[in-house]
């Protein structure tokens, strides 16, 4: 036994001689492409049509409809800027994982999606290129972006690190065969849900998410909050927030709402499609999925019901197009970026029906009136504070435990979330 350990230790000591000495330097090559100042420069003139070269565009692809919409948009780009050859390479598998290997190796696409939930981390760690010099040179108009979307992609230094490629607000989608008169307030929602309970073969009137993913919208609506206005302290452990969380939890307690998982569904879109629930709270991504998978189910949108806070409120999600700090064709990428997030490109893209415009000057795509109408007041649903993933996780874990233990007490949820928020803010 002793000999066994001794040999093993020796093995690793020997191995460490061969292994550890090159390791410090091996990080050097990956840092070589760190600088991100745009090339060209000097004269300050910016003529996008004179730029020619390749640009690699990457992202994930969440549905065939999304792929088609992007292809159409890129065709539009190619006809306007024939000198820039766009190479679209959607990444399979887990997007952040694949991107991590790309950052580490320096082999980064020129323009790529960055989800709001990790945008802050990627900006902080320097994986994205600041765009301010380009904005100045090209005169790109950033004022048209809805502030709820745009703010997420600005760094602590106040610079832009990406433009929101689109957005989505959370609204209420309901089965029109079952719900004739959509509720305007949260009280109406409860009354309606009570009358629907146990009818129409529904497993529950509402499909609800056991976390802040959608719960945050209800928290806001019912007068609760997560952070103080200056974003420096948690406010979830307050009476107002606790009441709001308890209200949300009571929807589960009283059988008015159920999670998609408990209905046997992957997400609430499936629940609406399979008629397990009559009312769900989702974003524009619901539409292509309903058309392709559940074409027979009739549904409509309405804005998020107004709660005790008295004013209309909801949350929104967004994704940016960003240029990598190590991207090789930054000029080409910025031309592509300004087309895709500009009025013309975004109009084409949002006509595909997958997402909403993140700019106010883009016409409302067909069938998206309700969702777009929320854009002006929606608050960010992710990416608004550092370490938000941990906060979401803390909330969801505690909330799930309360539901599954049938104790339905908001207290532990609120305190677990408060701890997570405080911890995240202190880092």
């Amino acid at each position: 036994m002793r000999r066994f350990i001794a040999v093993l230790v020796a093995a690793f000591i020997v191995a460490s001689c061969t292994g550890s000495s090159p390791s410090p330097s091996s990080s050097a090559p990956s840092g070589a492409a760190g600088s991100s100042s745009p090339s060209g420069g000097g004269g300050g003139g910016w003529d996008p049509t004179s730029i020619s070269g390749p640009a690699v565009l990457s992202g994930w692809q969440s549905s065939p409809a999304e792929g088609n919409a992007l292809t159409q948009t890129l065709l539009g780009f190619q006809s306007t800027y024939p000198n820039i050859k766009v190479d679209y390479e959607p990444l399979a598998g887990d997007y952040p994982t694949v991107m991590a290997t790309k950052f580490a190796s320096g082999d980064v696409p020129d323009l790529f999606y960055v989800d709001a939930s990790y945008a802050g981390t990627w900006i902080d760690q320097g994986y994205l290129a600041p765009l301010d010099d380009y904005i100045q040179k090209s005169g790109f108009d950033t004022s048209q972006f809805f502030p709820g979307y745009a703010s997420i992609f600005k760094g602590a230094d106040g610079k832009w690190y990406g433009f929101p490629k689109d957005g989505n607000t959370i609204a209420m989608a309901y089965n029109t065969d079952i719900v004739k008169d959509p509720p305007k307030t949260m009280d109406d929602l409860i009354t309606l849900a009570q009358s629907l309970k146990g009818t129409n073969g529904l497993k529950a009137p509402l499909c609800l998410n056991p976390g802040l993913d959608r719960g945050l919208a209800f928290l806001f609506a019912q007068g609760g909050s997560l952070l103080s206005d200056d974003g420096k302290t948690e406010t979830i452990d307050s009476d107002a927030s606790k009441t709001a969380v308890q209200w949300y939890m009571d929807l589960f307690k009283n059988g008015l709402g159920m999670t998609a998982s408990d209905m046997g569904d992957g997400w609430c879109g499936d629940s609406l499609g399979k008629k397990n629930a009559a009312i769900i709270f989702e974003g524009g991504w619901l539409d292509p999925s309903m058309v392709s998978t559940y074409p027979d189910v009739k549904y409509a949108w309405n804005v998020m019901p107004t709660g005790s806070s008295g004013s209309p409120v909801t949350i929104s999600y967004t994704v940016s197009y960003s240029i990598g700090a190590q991207s090789k064709n930054k000029d080409e990428a910025f031309v592509l970026l300004s087309y895709l997030t500009g009025k013309e490109g975004m109009t084409k893209w949002t006509e595909g029906g997958v997402a909403l415009p993140s700019r106010s000057d883009v016409p409302t795509p067909q069938g998206k009136d309700v969702l777009v109408s929320e854009s002006s007041y929606a608050k960010p649903g992710s990416g608004f504070m550092p370490g938000y993933n941990d906060v979401q996780k803390a909330f969801q874990d505690a909330f799930t435990a309360q539901i599954q233990n049938k104790t339905f007490d908001a207290g532990p949820v609120v305190s677990a979330t408060a701890t997570a928020v405080t911890k995240a803010l202190s880092q």
Partner: protein
């Protein structure tokens, strides 16, 4: 190959030590044995049958406990075939090519190294073998970034190199060496010594004498590695970034995450699962003897 495995097991020991004493009890035990076998076989079989049945159902029908789809529909299959990128034949080709290459390298490198660790004396042998064992204890997630950087240095993260990279990472598993070493240790030395006496070199002895004797173990390694590579998920997701190079598990994962959540549109999902399973099932039916006997005959010899 199989008969050789039997011979190798040692005089007659492979004949099943059955026929327990006591005739009446024997009959009881036999009935019990059959009950266990049949019950467990049903447990094995039902889920796969269920996935086949479900793939021909409509979505509302898919959650009903009925064994005949009503109505019978090909829509699930249609959707599966249409949505999968790249097309199914290419996905299979990728999976087969990669699994085949990984199997070959493991067999060749594993038997050479296994033999050396079992029989050849050279300074540092123990230490090197402990490194082999140490690799078994290391989770892939720990080394993904360093390994990716190394592969990148050799140009194995782009273009055709992606295939090479995925094979290199799995080219030789510590288990293959461990397994084959154990097997070589169990082969009597006499034959080998006779060959050496005749003046055969180390490689010739290995190639002419030892390798043929190790065929059951090699079959087992080949099967385990083929199966492992066929199922492999983590490295292909990272390393095979071109759409056209996806393997079956990667395509499955992508298919499930299409649409904004995890889809529970069961019929097409089950169609993909069935489609992913059929080739390995066919392979298994044809080579079942090697799969089962190979592993069984060469497994653990203390």
């Amino acid at each position: 190959m199989v008969s050789q495995a039997r011979r190798l097991g040692g005089a007659g020991t492979l004949a099943a030590p059955s026929a327990p004493p006591g005739r009446r009890r024997g009959r009881w035990l036999r009935a019990l044995a059959y009950a266990i076998l049949i019950a467990y076989a049903v447990v094995m079989f039902v889920p796969f049958a269920w996935s086949v049945i479900t793939s021909f159902k409509t979505l509302p029908d898919s959650v009903r406990l009925s064994f005949i789809p009503q109505p019978f529909t090909l829509e699930g299959w249609h959707e599966a075939v249409q949505t999968l990128t790249p097309p199914l034949p290419l996905i299979f080709l990728n999976s087969f090519a990669i699994a085949g290459a990984v199997t070959l390298t493991n067999v060749v490198l594993g038997s050479l190294a296994g033999y050396a660790f079992a029989r050849l004396r050279f300074p540092g042998r123990e230490l090197l073998f402990l490194i082999v064992l140490g690799t078994l204890m290391m989770p892939d997630q720990l080394r993904v970034i360093p390994v990716y950087l190394i592969l990148k240095t050799f140009g194995l993260t782009a273009g055709f190199g992606q295939y090479v990279g995925v094979v290199v990472v799995a080219a030789i598993a510590g288990t293959s060496i461990f397994f084959l070493r154990q097997y070589f240790l169990s082969i009597p030395r006499d034959l080998e010594e006779a060959a050496r006496m005749d003046g055969a070199g180390f490689f010739t002895t290995f190639w002419r004498v030892m390798l043929p004797l190790a065929t059951p173990a090699i079959a087992a390694v080949a099967i385990l590695q083929f199966q492992g590579s066929w199922n492999s998920f983590f490295w292909p997701v990272i390393l095979l970034q071109d759409n056209a190079k996806k393997t079956i598990p990667v395509a499955l994962y992508t298919f499930r995450t299409l649409s904004s959540g995890f889809s529970t549109n069961w019929p097409p999902l089950m169609a993909v699962i069935v489609a992913a399973t059929i080739p390995i099932l066919i392979l298994y039916i044809f080579f079942q003897r090697y799969f089962v006997e190979g592993l069984a005959a060469s497994g653990v010899k203390g």
